[in-house]
Amino acid sequence: MNRFEIIPWVILFAPLGAAALVLFFGGLSKRLSAGVAIFAAVLTCVLSWMLWFTPLPAEGAGGGVGIGWIDLRPYGCNFTIEIGLLTDYLSRLMLLVVTTVASLVFVYSVGYMAKEEGYSRYFAGLCLFLFSMLGIVLAENFVMMFIFWELVGVSSYILIGHYFGKNSAAEAAKQAFTVNRVGDFGFLLGILMLWFYAGTFQFSELLGATLPLAGGNSWILAIALVLVFCGTIGKSAQMPLHVWLPNSMEGPTPVSSLLHAATMVAAGVYMLARIFPVLENSPVALTVIAWVGGITCLLAGFMGIQQNDIKRILAYSTISQLGYMVMAIGVAGNGEVSMFHLVNHAFFKCLLFLAAGSVIVGMHHEQDIWKMGGLKNKMPFTFLLMGMGALALSGVPPFSGYFSKDLIIEWAWVSNKGLFWISAGAVLLTTLYTFRLYFVVFFGPPRSDAAKKAHESPLVMILPMAVLAGLSLISGWPILAHYYIHPAHPEGVPFFVSLIIYAFLLVGMVLAGMLYFQGPKKDPVLIPFFANRFYIDDVYGWGVRVLQGGFAAICSFVDRWVIDGLVKFSAVVAWGFGFLLRLLQVGNLQAYAFYFGAGAILLFYLLLAK
């Protein structure tokens, strides 16, 4: 094992070690907890950059270092699971994004969490999250990915429920976990189905193993892949399992920024990019993915324009942007188009959340944008940095969002005109809700006392935001981007497509300016249907209450009167049988010798009676 084979293992396990240290010794001092956690994050970041600059392994060499976890092949049984880390181009790129963003968020957390409860528990949770996330990134097979996928879910649960004393936080954590379970169930089924038909969990072998399926009987492959895609629907908050993400905003803001905007929710997209060569063989699966992404991207945008909680607006924008990425998997010619937007989005969305966190701290934990206003003078740095984030999110050139989002929309044009209009329309919505947020928070008159007394955040919070702002400015520039990504460009896209996108962008911005720049006291536009999120949450609530409640009542009835009866009956039978056997056990030697003889006769009967 040479130096470069050890690096991935160190990257993976450093955060776990830090999590254990913080958990056990974090009580000693706050400074120690934060220090250990930040050290681990920065270490993984440095190592990831080192890994990035080491030459890629030859094609087909696997590029990973694996150890057999369970390998029964030497014993004539075709069953093997490896624990191995994949360090190909895709995982290296994702490592860079995750560790860089994580390091910045860890540092920012020192400022944000300074006065909060559960300081070391928070950092232990963050470290656990980082470990799990890196596990997903480095996993070389579906089993490992699924394990870490669930671990990410656990750490997300822990972090959303950080203020578990608050009922809404505990509920949100529970909901995030449960909703994800729905998606993960499909994911697991998909993994098992692929394994059943292709006989492998390994990503490196998957393409070759699924090729036979891609031919005549492509429905099997399509169903398996759509089931796998269910994992993405859950984790990346696509319709119809998007409801948990806005509620997850109950967690501390840095958590929202790292987990629920930049990295964890992107894991679903990463997974799709990872199996993209297989997806390509199934046009049906690609179509499903594209439409789920497209619809999510548009509807989340509609919901976003009528929210009043600063973090929820950003949460819907996250869902919408994830929709773009998922759609890109479905429409674009290679997985890197989606990854390009993932990288850019990670930077600017993380920035936006951190800025929102800065506003929230400045406002003493007020999150309603209609209680803010005029913060541009009180919080000049946050104002500036969030402006950069907003421009990047809207896709204004030369900010990074422009390059990747335009590319995706152009691919949509090539692939399907319906998807094109949906995704282009979402640009208008994106711009509208982004600048609605920006104008209401930073311009106009202060709308509450807290807004009048707002103050700028400390340097430890501003600096990570500044770094991210720099990254969101430059990460999309073709001159720089070609060093790290090579998204395919569609051919034959007429010039007016770009004009349409610009037009939507401008209309959105002008609309936001007209409606919100003057500093209205309350929202001049009221669309309850959007504000209430199309009543999807209510339908789910009703469904859970009535359907699940009713079903539970039936289950309870069956359980009590049928299953319990069966269980008790079989328990009594088993017990009685055991008791009878016990009677045989008389303790009498002669009896035992007799049984022995009887047993011998039985055995001879079995052996000789053929």
Partner: protein
Amino acid sequence: MNPILLETILVCVGFLLLLAEAFAGGVRKSVFGYGAMVGVFGVFVLTFWIDAAAMNSEAAYSVYYSADDLAVFFKRFVLLATFCVLLMAVEFAPVLQKYLPSSAGGAGLGEFYCLPLFACAGMMWLVSATDFIMIFVSLELVTVSFYVMVAYMRKNALSLEAGVKYLILGALSTGVLVYGIAWIFGILGTTNLVGISQAVAVLPPEKSVGVLFGLGLVLISLGFKVAAVPFQFWVPDVYQGAPTPVTAYLSVASKAVGFVVLMRVMDAFFVAPYYGDRLLSTVAFLAGMTMLLGNLAAIPQTNFKRLLAYSSVAHAGYLLMALASVASGGAGYAIAFYLVVYLIMTMLAFAVTIVVSKSLGGDNISDFNGLSKRNPWLALAMAIGVLSLAGLPFTAGFFGKFFVFVSALDAGLYWLVGIGAFSVACGFYYYLKVLRAMYWLPLSIGESENTRCSISLPLGALLVVLVVLTLALGVFPSPVFALMP
């Protein structure tokens, strides 16, 4: 190093300790226990230096003694089991002392530490034996040592009774074994397993029935050894009556070598399909009965050692299931892995039982009541032990069962897997009874939470090692595969 030196050294250590014990009057008896442990551990270390090529292929012993991978693996297994048993024996000495004729300062304890060495040497020979004569002689060495050890607590009626039962039924089974060997020898003219497998391959069918009869007798005797139903009736009484370390020894090492001999004997007959099919279907039937009966009969038990006795029968059933699927390829790995896991978790359960029974004077399940309040860590160790015995994921026991079931599925024994699944479910019921006693039931009346069980340092260390192994192998079982034959 010549492999046969291993057993020789071990027997010499045993004799030396016996002699030293006779002449060194004033020495504390536990010294001999530790001496025996050092001897066992030394031999264990030596197993890594043996070289099968050093055996003189001209020498007479080379036809009945083999030092193949299987043998070496199980020699190490037996040595480790003996080491654990000796450690527990030292811990158990005060209880033992109560039931010895002379209760004065350790009188009569010395032999208790030497006997396991002889039994261990016998088992090491047994796993190497490739000839029925060798199998018989070493089996007798093991059994005779066990007769003495089981009946060691001479003033305890239960222990004496167990000893007598074991002696008489054991003698019966030995007789059956000899009879079987005689039949096989009478028809085939050889007792050597290699010779037998050559002879049965060319044997005319009309003579095969006699060989099959002989084989049946051997199977009965070995079934008795591994506690397969319907030859398991001695197990509960003997397990309950014997001193606890001896029970552990019986249930782990004795059973394991029984399976090794079974594998070797069955292997010799597989060359002829006439035997192979009949053997496998018989073993599969025994497996089904053993799993069912072991698990069902365990349910109403109230004594923990008796419960473990039935659980030991049940585990023999799972092992037989793997044995029944041995023809489809290497189910041997499943047996070997299961035995390793079984060693770890059974030793864990018995070690905790020793601690509890030493402090509280009993080994009923009710003696575990409220243990979590007295000794939380001890209760946790026991909890991990019984959960592993039940086969919960993330414990070693899970992978043990998993591999057995995988190999049975590979062999197409679906009905047996069904019975196995049902048995495992039953298993959860009675194993969790112990958990319930420790964590949910209140202490018995008149006992206070402050009477803690004291754990000596060596036994505590053993417990920690066993717990760590149980959990580690439950997540990552590969290291065992690396050592496997």
